[in-house]
C-alpha cells in the first residue's frame, strides 16, 4: 500500500509556542484515520499544513510523494473540510456545489444533490443565512461528493443533530466502500466514530502520543465488571485507569495486553470482561497523569 502522507519531524511554532512539535507519522492509501486529541492539541494545524494552507517551521512533509505547496498535482487530490471554512456571503448553497464541481476532478454532482436532499438543505438559500448545522452539512456534502483520494474532515459536524450525524457516518461508510479513498477524521465525538476508524493517531500538546491500528489500540485495555472484592484482588498491581463503583459491584478499566491465562483467571473469578471504549482510552492517555494519581490515592 502506498504512503499518501508522510510527516517527518514536522514542527510549527508561533514564537516560543510550539503548536506542533516534531511530529512524524505516515498515512496509507485507502484507510480511515482518526486524528484525535483535545482542543488546541495541534490537530487542525497539522491538517492545515498537509493541505498547504499553513507553512511548517521545521521538518519535512510529503503528500502524494511531493510537497503540497502550490502543487496542483497534489492539491487536486485533496479535499479538506474544516469547521471554520468560509464561503462567499452572496453564494447560495447551489453556487457552492457548482463551484466545487469545477474544482474537484472526481466530483459527482448527482450524488451531491442527492446528499443535499438527505440533509434537507434549501439549495437556493444564501450561505450567510444558514444555521451552524446547515453550514456543517454543506461541508460534509462537499467532502463526500468530491471523492478526493485524500479527504480530510476536521470537526465536520458542529451543530449537527444526532440524526444528521448518523446519516453522515452511514453515507461515509457506504461511499467509502464503493469508492475507496483515504479519509482523515478529526473529532471530539470519539465514541460515535470509533467503529469507523481503522487507524488512530492521538495528538497531545503538539506531540504524537499514539499511532496505532484501532484494533490493537482497543486491545491495550479492558474493562472488568464484578463484585468489589474479586475486582480488587484481580487488579492488584495492575494499571487501573478508570473505576466506577455500582453498589457492591465495581467496573474497572485496566491497561495491559492480556494473555489467555489471565483472561481465564478473570473469568474464573466471575468477572465480566469487555473491551474498553476508545473515548475512555483517549481521555486517559491525554489526561493520564491527573487521572492516574486520583486512582492511586
Amino acid at each position: 500500500m502506498g504512503k499518501i502522507v508522510e510527516l517527518n519531524r514536522l514542527t510549527k511554532s508561533y514564537g516560543a509556542v510550539k503548536a506542533v512539535d516534531n511530529v512524524s507519522f505516515s498515512i496509507d492509501e485507502n484507510k480511515i484515520y482518526g486524528l484525535l486529541g483535545r482542543n488546541g492539541a495541534g490537530k487542525t494545524t497539522i491538517m492545515h499544513m498537509i493541505t498547504a494552507q499553513l507553512f511548517a517551521t521545521g521538518g519535512e512533509l510529503k503528500v502524494f510523494g511531493d510537497t503540497p505547496y502550490e502543487n496542483n498535482r497534489v492539491l487536486n487530490q485533496i479535499c479538506f473540510i474544516k469547521e471554520s471554512q468560509k464561503y462567499p456571503d452572496v453564494y447560495r448553497i447551489i453556487d457552492v456545489l457548482n463551484t466545487s464541481a469545477s474544482f474537484f476532478p472526481n466530483w459527482d454532482h448527482e450524488y451531491a444533490l442527492s446528499l443535499a436532499g438527505d440533509f434537507r438543505l434549501p439549495l437556493k438559500r444564501r450561505m450567510k443565512k444558514l444555521s451552524r448545522g446547515m453550514l456543517s452539512s454543506v461541508g460534509i456534502i462537499i467532502g463526500l461528493a468530491s471523492r478526493a483520494p485524500l479527504t480530510i474532515f476536521d470537526e465536520p459536524y458542529l451543530g449537527l443533530d444526532a440524526v444528521a450525524r448518523s446519516l453522515f457516518y452511514d453515507r461515509l461508510i457506504e461511499d467509502y466502500s464503493q469508492h475507496p479513498r483515504t479519509v482523515i477524521l478529526s473529532t471530539h465525538l470519539i465514541d460515535e466514530v470509533s467503529s469507523i476508524l481503522e487507524h488512530v493517531l492521538i495528538i497531545d500538546s503538539g506531540t504524537l502520543l499514539i499511532d496505532e491500528e484501532a484494533e490493537a489500540l482497543r486491545g491495550r485495555a479492558f474493562t472488568l465488571a464484578g463484585p468489589k472484592a474479586s475486582v480488587e484482588s484481580f487488579t492488584a498491581g495492575k494499571e487501573v485507569i478508570h473505576r466506577e463503583p455500582f453498589g457492591s459491584f465495581v467496573t474497572a478499566t485496566v491497561m495491559g495486553n492480556w494473555n489467555a491465562a489471565e483472561r481465564k483467571q478473570a473469568e474464573a473469578l466471575g468477572l465480566e470482561l469487555a473491551p474498553v471504549s476508545l473515548q475512555q482510552l483517549v481521555i486517559y492517555l491525554t489526561n493520564g497523569k491527573a487521572q492516574r494519581k486520583a486512582v492511586e490515592v
Binding site: 492545515h48 493541505t51 498547504a52 494552507q53 499553513l54 507553512f55 502550490e70 502543487n71 496542483n72 492539491l75 487536486n76 485533496i78 479535499c79 479538506f80 474544516k82 471554512q85 468560509k86 464561503y87 462567499p88 456571503d89 452572496v90 453564494y91 453556487d95 457548482n98 463551484t99 466545487s100 469545477s102 474544482f103 474537484f104 476532478p105 462537499i142 478526493a148
Partner: protein, 226 residues
C-alpha cells in the same frame, strides 16, 4: 480541468458584485442627473462616471476577503487564484470599458441625451481617438482594481495593526514629501507638468503602478495563509 478557469467561473457566479452593482450605482447617478438636466438651462457636466471606478476599487478590496479563504479551502493554489482573479478583473474591466465607450458614443449621437447632460463623454477625459478612450478607461479600471486588491492582500497578511502602521508610514512619507516639495520650490515645475499631460498620458503613467501593485499582490499572496 483547468483551475484558473475554475477560479474565473467561481468569480462569475457572483454577478452582483462584479457586474450589476457597479452599473446600478452609476446608472442611478445617471438617472438623477438626467432628471436634473431637464430643469437646468445650461449643459450639465457631472462626475457621476467616477462612481463606477471607485466601486471597482472597493470591489478589489472585498473580493479577496470574500473568495480567497474559500478558494484555498477548495484546494486551489495561490497562483491559480491570483491568475484566475486577474483574468476576471481584466475581462470585467475590458467589458465595462467597451460599454462605457458605446454609451459615450450614444451620448454624442443623441446630442447629450436631448437634455444637455454630459455624463459619459467628459471633456478632457474622452478626448482623442476611440482606441485612446477605451485604453484610458481600461487602465483606470485596472489601476483601481489592483489598488484594492493590494490593500486586501496587505490586510490579509498584516491584519488591522499592519494596515494602521502602513497607512501611518505612507501618510508621514507623503507629508514629508509635500513639505520638501514646498521647501525646494518644486511646485511650479510639478504644476507645469500636470497641466501638460493628457488623459492618455496619465493613463500611461498608471501602467507601471498597475504592474507594481499586481506583482506585490502576487508575492504577498504567495505566502498568505488562512
Amino acid at each position: 480541468m483547468n483551475r484558473v478557469s475554475s477560479v474565473v467561473k467561481m468569480h462569475s457566479r457572483d454577478k452582483w458584485s462584479w457586474f450589476i452593482v457597479p452599473w446600478l450605482v452609476m446608472l442611478s447617478s445617471f438617472v438623477i442627473n438626467f432628471i436634473i438636466s431637464y430643469f437646468v438651462d445650461e449643459p450639465l457636466i457631472t462626475g457621476g462616471l467616477s462612481s463606477i471606478f471607485i466601486y471597482m476599487f472597493v470591489a478589489g478590496i472585498i473580493t479577496l476577503a470574500q473568495t480567497f479563504p474559500f478558494a484555498l479551502g477548495m484546494s486551489v493554489s495561490r497562483t491559480d487564484y491570483f491568475l484566475g482573479t486577474s483574468s476576471m478583473v481584466l475581462l470585467t474591466s475590458a467589458g465595462s470599458s467597451l460599454l462605457l465607450l458605446l454609451i459615450g458614443l450614444t451620448e454624442g449621437w443623441t446630442n447629450d441625451w436631448g437634455s444637455g447632460l454630459v455624463f459619459f463623454q467628459l471633456p478632457y477625459l474622452s478626448e482623442g481617438p476611440l482606441v485612446n478612450q477605451f485604453t484610458v478607461y481600461l487602465i483606470i479600471f485596472l489601476f483601481m482594481h489592483y489598488s484594492g486588491i493590494l490593500i486586501g492582500v496587505v490586510h490579509k497578511r498584516t491584519g488591522k495593526n499592519g494596515m494602521f502602521l502602513i497607512s501611518g508610514i505612507l501618510l508621514a512619507a507623503f507629508t514629508l514629501l509635500g513639505f520638501l516639495a514646498d521647501y525646494l520650490n518644486w511646485y511650479p515645475a510639478i504644476f507645469d507638468w500636470i497641466v501638460k499631460q493628457s488623459a492618455m498620458d496619465y493613463a500611461l503613467w498608471m501602467l507601471p503602478f498597475i504592474v507594481i501593485f499586481a506583482a506585490a499582490s502576487y508575492l504577498l499572496l504567495r505566502r498568505a495563509t488562512i
